[in-house]
């Protein structure tokens, strides 16, 4: 046996998927997430799946540890060391108020308070000249002070270090030597881009989560090894690739969006296997919905990410797949404000107490309650029958809190309001998809809508209608899809560098030199960390017209001269903004290199679990709004549908953890990978 195993730790469940390369068997298990020691939940999954850790050759692991630690402020006692005169850069931030009319607006407190931010004499200028050498005596005295203060982690950030990291490296080395027990990190080992606030904020966050992530990973490694595991452990990076354990320990910030990435990778892999160039990946869970684009098999990766959002949060410069998230999930609450205006979310009943129909003490009507009232969920077969839903409680609550106050009495009024709640949620979620597509100059109608997560398949069809997307695809195992994606990930390493210069012949040569250096560094790292011998590269340049402040990221792989780069820049600029100026001078701002090493992947066609169930003949009334009202609808058991099966809507297709809705006038079929394909009918 030779398993490749993926483990995804979520807020409620730890999911495990194991694929045996020898037998081509696949195993899925789920176990409650064990707060306190996450490793227990992982080992429980192995036990339930009857996979011996000794039989696992690869373990790919995603976790929300980093983002939770940053948002809940549960990281280490951390100090920041800066150039003299600049310890407040972290606190002053960029001085903006993204919520302009909030008189009391406050940004989240800095991760590191002022009393733990220290300065040492040192300075480079903007031409890379040393103005003040690093004062090593002052640094040594500071090390002693940090020790007395019981500091567990230190971040080092110096002005203009993006040009020359020498002083930062030297300071980190000294601190590591004098404080061997302390986690030490410096800004330019995380990013070589300019802008002092963004770099200091990045290194502060990396230091803050460093000790926790190191402790967790070393513990996971040693406990797994204790159970006989001698394969390779890789972590799921926010950039959509696997990271080695060593790199993760140095750059834990690379895990910031480790959780939701798996689904995007899965969507990309399926899109490739099914021959779709362009896919909108859409994931709807209990509290939020997320959307990302896969264009020609590639994700767009953003180089800045705001922890706790742009309005109040802080930035980190770390490559993260461009995911737009909105507060709409199954648990999102419908409520009326004092003008009796109906809102859906962003507050969520989450999984506890959860929707009213769960019967766990939820008192506010949610999207899930609305779907149940509309006949779209099966009250007696929720989670494969592990839970029974209380439809009467859902109806009572929705009537009392929404329908009656708005003057919609009786059965008909109730149905109308339940449908309305789902419609409003659809508009909000469609907004997320528009943001990732239209703002990049792409038309969602050219994409296939690929939906997963517990709620994705249920709302897919309405979203397709809202966005005029003709085709919907629901992959197998939509409820486990994030873990599946992690099985399919490759190793990836991103390097970036500020490079300022005009687009002209001489700089193009310089850029090639810079990329060659970066390629050398990345290839060496992937060889050391993954034993990779074949590494492929993608090159992007951040460019703009001279005088502009916003850059666009242009793919420049294989473009050897000024004209070709100019053409690529204008093509992308025009696509995004609708116009380009052939006369205006263009300039470079930064270079990004992505390096990939392919991992051994399971055969996607083998991933759906073995089919057991027979077909069912059940029917029940389901509400379809404008498409016919309450309609007697055929209920299918997904496990009983073989590839090639096709039928007309309306239909409800039920499986463990998810339900797919097909509208009247649609046709659906089961595809070669056991995916459900819905051809949306006339509106």
């Amino acid at each position: 046996m030779s398993y490749v195993v993926a483990v995804d730790i979520g807020g409620t469940f730890t999911d495990l998927v194991a694929f045996d390369h020898d037998s081509q068997n696949v195993i899925y298990t789920k176990s409650p997430t064990t707060y306190g020691n996450f490793v227990d939940g992982i080992l429980e999954c192995f036990a339930k799946a009857r996979v011996q850790p000794a039989d696992a050759t690869f373990l790919n692991h995603g976790t929300t540890l980093v983002i939770n630690s940053l948002i809940q402020r549960r990281g280490a006692r951390t100090a920041l060391v800066t150039s003299k005169g600049f310890r407040d850069v972290l606190e002053i931030a960029r001085g903006n108020r993204p919520d302009p009319f909030d008189l009391y607006y406050q940004r989240d407190e800095p991760l590191i308070p002022r009393e733990l931010r220290f300065e040492v004499p040192e300075r480079m200028d903007a031409k890379n000249e040393v103005i003040t050498p690093l004062d090593t005596a002052a640094l040594e005295a500071l090390a002693a002070e940090l020790k007395d203060l019981g500091v567990e982690a230190v971040g080092v950030f110096f002005m203009n270090s993006y040009l020359n990291p020498g002083h930062e490296e030297q300071a980190a080395e000294t601190l590591r030597r004098l404080l061997p027990e302390t986690y030490v990190t410096f800004s330019t080992e995380l990013t070589r881009e300019w802008y002092e606030y963004e770099r200091s904020s990045t290194v502060a966050a990396n230091a803050y989560v460093g000790p926790q992530v190191n402790t967790y990973i070393r513990r996971l490694e040693s406990e797994m090894q204790g159970k006989g595991f001698d394969g390779s452990l890789f972590m799921m990076g926010s950039n959509g690739g696997l990271l080695s354990v060593d790199r993760t320990c140095r750059q834990p910030i690379g895990l910031v969006e480790s959780g939701p990435i798996g689904g995007c990778i899965g969507a990309g892999a399926y899109a490739g296997a099914l021959g779709f160039d362009n896919v909108v990946a859409f994931d709807m869970g209990g509290t939020t919905a997320k959307s990302a684009l896969v264009e020609n098999g590639r994700f767009s990766v953003e180089s800045v990410y705001y922890v706790n959002g742009y309005v109040k949060g802080f930035p980190i410069k770390s490559p993260v797949i461009d995911i737009v998230e909105v507060g709409s999930g199954g648990g999102s609450i419908a409520w009326l404000d004092d003008q009796k205006r109906l809102h859906v979310g962003p507050q969520s009943a989450g999984s506890t107490p959860g929707p009213v129909c769960y019967g766990n003490g939820g008192t506010e009507p949610t999207i899930t309650d609305a779907n149940l009232i509309l006949g779209r969920l099966n009250a007696s077969r929720f989670l494969g029958g592990e839970m029974t839903l209380d439809i009467e409680a859902a109806r009572r609550t929705l009537a009392e809190k929404i329908a009656e106050p708005l003057g919609y009495g009786g059965d008909e009024g109730l149905i109308r309001m339940a449908d309305g709640i789902v419609s409003i949620a659809t508009v909000i979620m469609a907004g997320a998809i528009r943001r990732v597509s239209v703002e990049h100059g792409l038309d969602p109608r050219d994409f296939v809508l690929f939906c997963y997560g517990g709620g994705g398949p249920l709302h897919a069809r309405a979203l397709a209608h809202e966005l005029s997307i003709p085709t919907v695809v629901i992959p197998p195992e939509p409820g486990n899809f994030s873990a599946i994606g992690m099985l399919l990930a490759d190793a990836r390493l991103d390097l970036s560098k500020t490079f300022v210069g005009m687009l002209e012949g001489a700089t193009v040569g310089e850029i090639q030199g810079q990329f060659a250096e970066m390629e050398y560094e990345a290839a060496a790292a992937l060889a050391a960390e993954f034993g990779a011998s074949e590494v492929t590269f993608e090159h992007h340049a951040e460019m703009r017209y001279r005088g502009q402040r916003h850059n666009i990221k242009v793919p420049v792989s294989g473009l050897a001269d000024e004209r070709a780069i100019r053409a690529a820049f204008e093509h992308d600029y025009k696509r995004r903004y609708g116009h380009a100026d052939p006369k205006a001078a263009a300039e470079f701002q930064a270079l990004h290199l992505s390096a990939f090493a392919r991992q051994r992947r399971p055969d996607i066609a083998r991933l759906p679990r073995a089919q057991a169930s027979a077909g069912s003949e059940a029917k029940r009334p389901v509400y379809f709004g404008g498409a016919g009202g309450m309609v007697e609808t055929r209920i299918y058991d997904r496990d009983g549908l073989a590839p090639g099966f096709t039928a007309a809507g309306p239909a409800v297709i039920e499986e463990y953890g998810s339900t797919t809705l097909v509208w009247p006038g649609d046709r659906f079929e089961i595809g070669p990978m056991r995916e459900i394909r819905i051809q949306c009918g006339v509106k």
């Binding site: 960029r94 001085g95 002022r114 409003i424």
Partner: protein, 566 residues
């Protein structure tokens, strides 16, 4: 649509779901065009200062929806004002599908001439027979010629375009483009920005028409009317909860930049039932310096911005929420100047005016009261030529402290109440393009007003000058410091101090033009803090200890303001 039509019928013809879907639809259209403009514009006023606004206006020229971003002064229906003038000039029947109109006229908008509204009528229906509104975008045009801030009147400030068609029935009018192109110092940038403004108008128009057609034009009108009525009802409910009465406050601007006389800003706020009146009778008269603005661009704008801060911070801006706001504003004040008055720095008084309105109402409602904020644009500009003769020109600005409130300590440093999502320029970028090295960039100790809750801190930025250049600064409110509230102390105002390498006493200044600096000089920009809230002696000892440990306050200030002893 007629604002006077029967409100109850509007309520009954639209169901609450369609209403919400249209509400989300309208705001998401303006937000999407906002994002497009931010990214396509050429000029930093737009992408960095967000000096623009995107709105949808009713067929009679009133704001139905506006983007969430953008600068606060633009929530005041700058776009509606321009459309109403166009309706007056052309009449509905001469505003065709495919027409695009521009307006920056001082007698209409009453702001500096850079602020130019562009709009296009939105026709919907199978034959585009129904005018359902206008899609309008106000953009700060980078340059429209003129001599501001040295202007004596508006005619010194550049090109005025009063409701001029830039496109007619889908065709550009090249003569108008030529006029614009030849009346600006930066034609490439300006025409680039106009292109982006135009693309936004047309895309927004089409999306709004599609939204209306999807639900039917009567339903769309009904939704818009209900949205405005609900906004109005929400505002009235908030005002009704405030105690009736007349509340007054004042402060003084240092001067108009022309001669050194303090400028009084006296304001009365009257709460009567569910209406709020801002009475500007006590404002200073129109000034010789270019700090004036017109009735809409100044008076209505500042009153609406203050109203939004106080009454409706979370409600999207539309005409409905402002219906309960009344304005008393005689002609000829600094905020209702004659259209010929100089207006180049029209927004200079805004932060103080807005803050004084908030101060007045704070006297009635302690939970709304805040200490004053630093309230000045704090312009700071270094310019000159490199040794090879090429020019450099660095615009910088001060961020200062905001006032404390009953909720807690003040925040900041931020820009003023007339700014929003405006980010400071990174030091590493400044050092790479200007002859400066920043020696220090820190929070300014003891700059905040003391109180049970302390104000926010200003900053201290120390520039080491590495080549000869000229300095222009524009700090105000240095003589009338940001005030404390409810027994809190005043904060320190801002100042600029120059230490010449050649020696001599440090030179302290607020407003300077063309001040000579030499390599080796040091300039210190210190910005004001925010006022405190409540008596300082009531501040929790743990909070004083923490402020000391962090260095937000000095030992002397702790002893003096808080009676703190170890």
């Amino acid at each position: 649509m007629d604002a006077a039509s029967d409100k109850s019928s509007a309520q009954s013809t639209i169901d609450p779901i369609t209403l919400e879907v249209i509400r989300h639809g309208l705001i998401s259209i303006t937000d999407q065009i906002d994002a497009n403009i931010t990214r396509t514009a050429f000029s930093p006023y737009i992408y960095e200062y967000k000096d623009f606004a995107v709105g949808i206006v009713t067929p009679d020229g009133h704001l139905m929806a506006q983007c969430k971003g953008g600068m606060p002064p633009f929530v005041a229906d700058s776009v509606g004002t321009a459309v109403r003038d166009g309706l007056k000039v052309y009449g509905r029947e001469r505003l065709h599908y495919g027409d695009v109109v521009v307006c920056n006229h001082a007698a209409v908008q009453g702001q500096h001439l850079n602020n130019t509204v562009m709009y296009t009528p939105i026709y919907a229906g199978p034959d585009r027979e129904a005018l359902i509104g206008f899609f309008a975008i106000n953009v700060h045009w980078i340059d429209v010629a003129g001599a501001a801030p040295k202007s004596a009147d508006i005619f010194d400030e550049g090109l005025q375009l009063r409701s001029i068609k830039l496109w007619s029935k889908g065709e550009p009018i090249e003569e108008v483009y030529r006029i614009i192109e030849n009346n600006t110092r930066f034609p490439v940038d300006l025409l680039g920005d106009i292109e982006s403004q135009l693309a936004g108008c047309l895309l927004g128009r089409d999306q709004t028409a599609a939204l209306a057609e999807r639900y039917g034009i009567p339903t769309f009108f009904s939704a818009v009317e209900t949205i405005l009525d609900q906004g109005e009802a929400a505002a009235r409910a908030r005002i009704r909860a405030l105690p009736d009465g007349t509340y007054e406050a004042e402060t003084f601007l240092d001067n108009d930049g022309d001669n050194d006389t303090p400028i009084p800003i006296r304001v009365k706020v009257v709460i009567a039932g569910d209406e709020l009146t801002v009475d500007y009778t006590g404002l200073a008269p129109q000034q010789k310096g270019c700090v004036n603005s017109g009735y809409y661009g100044g008076g209505v704008t500042t009153a609406r911005v203050a109203f939004k801060y106080l009454i409706m911070p979370n409600e999207p801006a539309n005409e409905g929420i402002f219906r309960p706001l009344k304005l008393v504003l005689p002609e000829g004040t600094i905020l209702s100047a004659d259209p010929s008055a100089p207006m180049g720095n029209y927004s200079m008084p805004f932060p103080s005016v807005i803050d004084v309105v908030i101060r007045a109402l704070g006297k009635a409602v302690p939970e709304l009261a805040t200490g004053g904020h630093f309230a000045t644009h704090s312009g700071f500009r270094l310019h000159g030529r490199w040794p090879d003769g090429t020019p450099f020109n660095g615009h910088d600005s001060g961020h200062g402290g905001w006032g404390a409130s009953a909720r807690g300590d003040g925040a900041g440093p931020f820009r003023t109440m007339a700014h929003g999502d405006t980010r400071l320029i990174p030091l590493e970028l400044q050092e790479s393009i200007l002859p400066i090295r920043i020696h220090e960039f820190t929070l300014r100790q003891d700059s905040a007003g003391a109180g049970r809750y302390r104000g926010g801190l200003g900053f201290r930025k120390v520039y080491d000058i590495t080549a000869d250049c000229l300095l222009q600064t524009n700090l105000d409110r240095t003589k009338h410091a940001p005030w404390g509230a409810a027994g809190g102390k005043d904060a320190l105002p801002g100042r600029v101090t120059v230490f010449h390498k050649a020696g001599g006493d440090p030179v302290i200044m607020c407003k300077a033009k063309g001040y000579r600096l030499a390599a080796g000089d040091r300039v210190v920009l210190e910005t004001g803090g925010g006022g405190g809230y409540g008596p300082p002696r009531e501040r929790a000892r743990t909070a004083v200890t923490r402020d000391l440990a962090r260095g937000y306050i000095s030992r002397e200030a702790a002893a003096r303001d808080y009676g703190f002893k170890d």
